[in-house]
């Protein structure tokens, strides 16, 4: 009852909704870079949206299944194929024992997600199945996945027929047609900076970007006067400006405190767009109010719940053999 990694990909990790409640001990929250795509993958196989998934970065892994199960793949297109046949994204797919699922270099976006029905059967670390970073933990939750790793699954599932429905690819256009504009709200030190140049500059994410942070490049942002910040809380989406004026956006594995001033905070609904930006893709920042950001978030959550409701109804009519 397991899957096994036979090619590891560039940076393949296990992520659930994140390690909540431990930031004051210095632990990052972690969790998926593209939370929307990860939740959709889980919803498609009728999992809890926060169930652990496999996150794949830029080059995907190759995985062999040691049991029958049902999977769904979302996020950046990594040309997934199952026994050398292309797999349709964003729909549930039956896999059988000894099937080989292979991913390649990502064609759109940067992060892809693989959800497995029933979830992964792993012990939690501090209440979460998200890969823990900078804590010297041994085992599959303490590092990126590598060749030979086996991950036990909670259940085995078989339907008598192939499933041929999914959710509309329109939900994922943010990956194929990258956002030209990333919305943000004022950061704690917004008034330390000249905001006009920040909004007028065309930014790119550099190749020095990862799950901890995205380093941006563009017209340097000037601080109005020389001030130092005392270390304070930071969070996923904080836009820090170090003294060289080139911003760093803290990402899912970002540290929970930091000493750089923050000009802004990426709106939560646009975090997945930032995550799926490819190095070199130009974009601009646009300020919105916090009330607007919360309204957008509430709308996003309603959309997710609605999709979950309909997909769950669909699963209600499917005969499953579970072992």
């Amino acid at each position: 009852m397991a899957i096994e990694i036979i090619e590891e990909g560039l940076h393949t990790t296990i992520q659930d909704q994140g390690r909540l409640g431990f930031q004051s001990y210095g632990f990052p929250v972690s969790g998926p870079m593209d939370d929307f795509a990860a939740r959709m993958a889980n919803i498609l196989v009728d999992n809890n949206p926060d169930e652990a998934v496999i996150e794949m970065s830029f080059i995907g892994p190759t995985i062999i299944f040691h049991q029958n199960t049902i999977i769904a793949i979302t996020g950046g297109n990594m040309s997934a194929n199952l026994n050398e046949q292309p797999v349709v994204l964003a729909q549930p797919v039956q896999v059988k024992k000894n099937d080989i699922l292979q991913f390649r270099t990502v064609k759109t976006g940067g992060f892809g997600y693989l959800a497995i029905k029933g979830g992964l059967d792993l012990p939690e670390i501090l209440g979460s199945h998200s890969t823990i970073v900078r804590a010297d933990v041994k085992g599959v939750l303490g590092r990126k996945l590598s060749v030979g790793d086996t991950i036990p699954l909670s259940h085995s599932y078989t339907t008598g027929y192939q499933l041929n429905w999914g959710i509309t690819p329109d939900l994922f256009t943010y990956i194929e047609q990258p956002a030209k504009t990333i919305r943000y709200i004022e950061g704690a030190q917004y008034d330390w900076f000249e905001p006009n140049s920040f909004e007028q500059t065309e930014w790119i994410a550099t190749t020095q970007s990862n799950r901890m942070g995205y380093r941006l490049e563009g017209n340097p942002i000037k601080q109005r006067k020389d001030q130092q910040l005392l270390t304070e809380a930071t969070t996923f989406g904080s836009i820090q400006v170090p003294s060289n004026g080139q911003p760093i956006i803290l990402m899912a594995d970002g540290q929970p405190t930091g000493g750089y001033p923050k000009i802004g905070q990426v709106a939560e609904v646009d975090l997945n767009k930032v995550s799926q930006l490819r190095p070199g893709q130009p974009f601009r920042f646009k300020k919105i109010t916090i009330d607007k950001a919360i309204t957008l978030l509430a709308r996003r959550e309603r959309l997710i719940r609605t999709i979950q409701y309909f997909v769950h109804e669909k699963w209600g009519g499917i005969k499953l053999c579970q072992k």
Partner: protein, 226 residues
């Protein structure tokens, strides 16, 4: 006092700078952490940041609650543990100790004495899991960070950066001047005690030699099951 909504789900309270702020912040943190509608709180040198679900409780409600808590809260006794942390200052571990000696024209013995005399307070944890921000270092030891941060500082390294001292709980990149290493594991990772040190604790360092370091390291490994 300043209150700011810094994201959809966080409000940060910033206080006027004051060296004794830490105990206040910890007392307020404990009170806030006990509220069902508050998910977690993170303290800094002069800030406390409150995380909540903005679809369940409004920013205005949180603002009102924090203000009331702050006004009611007097400095109260916080539970504090004093930890005695062994450090081997041998230059095999204290890879920058010779630099610090030169910088201040001090002997190795003098540096060890200056570093092991004070009782340090853990103001908060941050930067990486279990990393303590300590106050109380003798300012004669203050040394600027390295110009080029190391890609890998070994787990347990004890360092100095400007006027601060600290311990790296796990192997990570870093720019601190490394003066020694402790064999003690700062990351027990138990759900009720994920880190050895918690805000409000106190620590004192004491010097050990290399043989004692290796012995203690062995004991720690057995204790932590690896």
């Amino acid at each position: 006092m300043r209150l700011q909504s810094i994201s959809e789900n966080t409000i940060m309270m910033t206080l006027p700078n004051n060296p004794d702020l830490s105990t206040y912040l910890i007392a307020v943190k404990h009170h806030l952490d006990n509220q069902a509608f508050i998910l977690e709180t993170v303290i800094g040198y002069r800030t406390i940041t409150v995380y909540f679900n903005p679809l369940q409780v409004t920013h205005q409600e949180i603002l009102t609650f924090i203000t009331a808590t702050w006004e009611q809260k007097q400095a109260e006794q916080i539970h504090s543990t004093l930890h005695h942390i062994p450090v081997c200052y041998d230059k095999a571990f204290g890879i920058d100790i010779e630099h610090v000696m030169k910088e201040h024209q001090l002997s190795l013995q003098k540096i060890i004495a200056l570093h092991t005399t004070p009782t340090y307070n853990v103001s908060f944890l941050g930067f990486s899991p279990g990393f303590p921000f300590l106050t109380g270092m003798n300012q004669h030891l203050a040394t600027p960070r390295k110009n080029n941060p190391r890609l890998e500082v070994p787990k347990g390294s004890v360092g100095i950066a400007g006027g601060q001292t600290g311990i790296y709980p796990s192997t990570s990149p870093g720019g601190w001047q490394i003066i020694g290493r402790t064999p003690i594991n700062l990351l027990p990772l138990d759900a009720d005690r994920p880190t050895l040190l918690v805000p409000g604790d106190q620590i004192r360092f004491y010097p050990i030699n290399k043989t004692e370091f290796e012995q203690l390291q062995k004991e720690e490994r057995i204790k932590n099951g690896n």
